[in-house]
Symmetry: C3
Subunit: 139 residues, 3 copies
């Protein structure tokens, strides 16, 4: 049984879902681990991780609109506003989604379903450089 660690840097372009399936799968493939457990950890509180459909891009549009609706920018509603009107909603959206994902690995790859894609969900208006730690354990 052995372990591997890696840090993925993702450049975002402001609010929205960024697909990260490919760099994650490529890194896992390079480790030569047949069976194991892969963990992704997002090192931020205003960006998060999620698993979503990898096919129809309109799903992403609807998701982004939905989170604008469910955790809106709302000047005056939040006490914490000194980092901008998009900061507090970013924290809430992070809480409602995931900071971490752990995925079994079989036959050398994560057991994603056919329609599952891995996404970083940027919640701030401006582009950011985001760090996602990858940890793989197995043999």
């Amino acid at each position: 049984m052995r372990q591997a660690l890696h840090e993925l840097t993702i450049e975002t372009r402001g609010k929205g879902l960024v697909m990260i399936t490919r760099p994650v799968l490529e890194w896992v493939a390079d480790q030569g681990i047949e069976t194991g457990l892969l963990t992704l950890w997002c090192r931020h509180t205003s960006a998060s991780l999620t698993v979503q459909e990898n096919a129809d891009p309109s799903v992403r549009t609807d998701i982004e609109r939905y989170f604008e609706h469910i955790a809106p920018e709302a000047p005056g509603r939040y006490v914490h506003d000194d980092e901008g009107p998009d900061d507090m909603p970013a924290h809430l959206r992070t809480m409602l989604t995931n900071t971490q994902l752990t995925i079994p690995v079989a036959d050398g790859q994560p057991v994603l379903g056919m329609w599952q894609g891995l996404y970083l969900f940027e919640h701030r208006r401006r582009p950011h450089r985001r760090q996602v730690v990858l940890h793989l354990l197995g043999e």
Copy 2:
């Protein structure tokens, strides 16, 4: 330290919570691992996993109603509607709950609290056959 993998197939009857505690615990018991880590991965984007009370069935009724309220079927609201009015809400409900659960194992079983049950949450109207991958690591 060793690993075990299994795929659980769950037949759902349309929207709602399906308790999967028993088949999960039985499979773990069969592996003879005393201390370790159990991971459940749901291979879908319109069904998810959650931990909830295992006692009063009315909790499940309230949960189902709540998710109808918070992520409703709403013709015209979503761009993505070619798979039916229940598809986009199913993606949103999946994002708000979990695709994955990882549970420590001690004394040969997952350390669930007395009232905790494991559930598959079906978000589509029609019955589906769902796959949940189980991964156990330990000794």
Copy 3:
């Protein structure tokens, strides 16, 4: 590769976020594991875990208000009310946040970002004694 298990007991003072970063990091440091995987499991269905900003306390105020808004106490709305008006919202808030967190460990500590803190989120009005199981695997 070896494992360690621990149960953390957290006394809450009713609804709100309780920071648990310090006892978690201290326990991890004591295990002398350089690289590995840390899992936290909350053994309850009316308290949960979350990762949030560890700096400005007003973030916590906003989070607590937001969850009062998104999953309110609402007499008459829920079928399950025999454990009090705060019980069913507590279950919903647990579902929207996390029962479990899994964090890679590098250089002897969890790879938390600079602003990330670990919190227990108490959803009941009254103080409770909560159990969080810690599992560490690595070498």
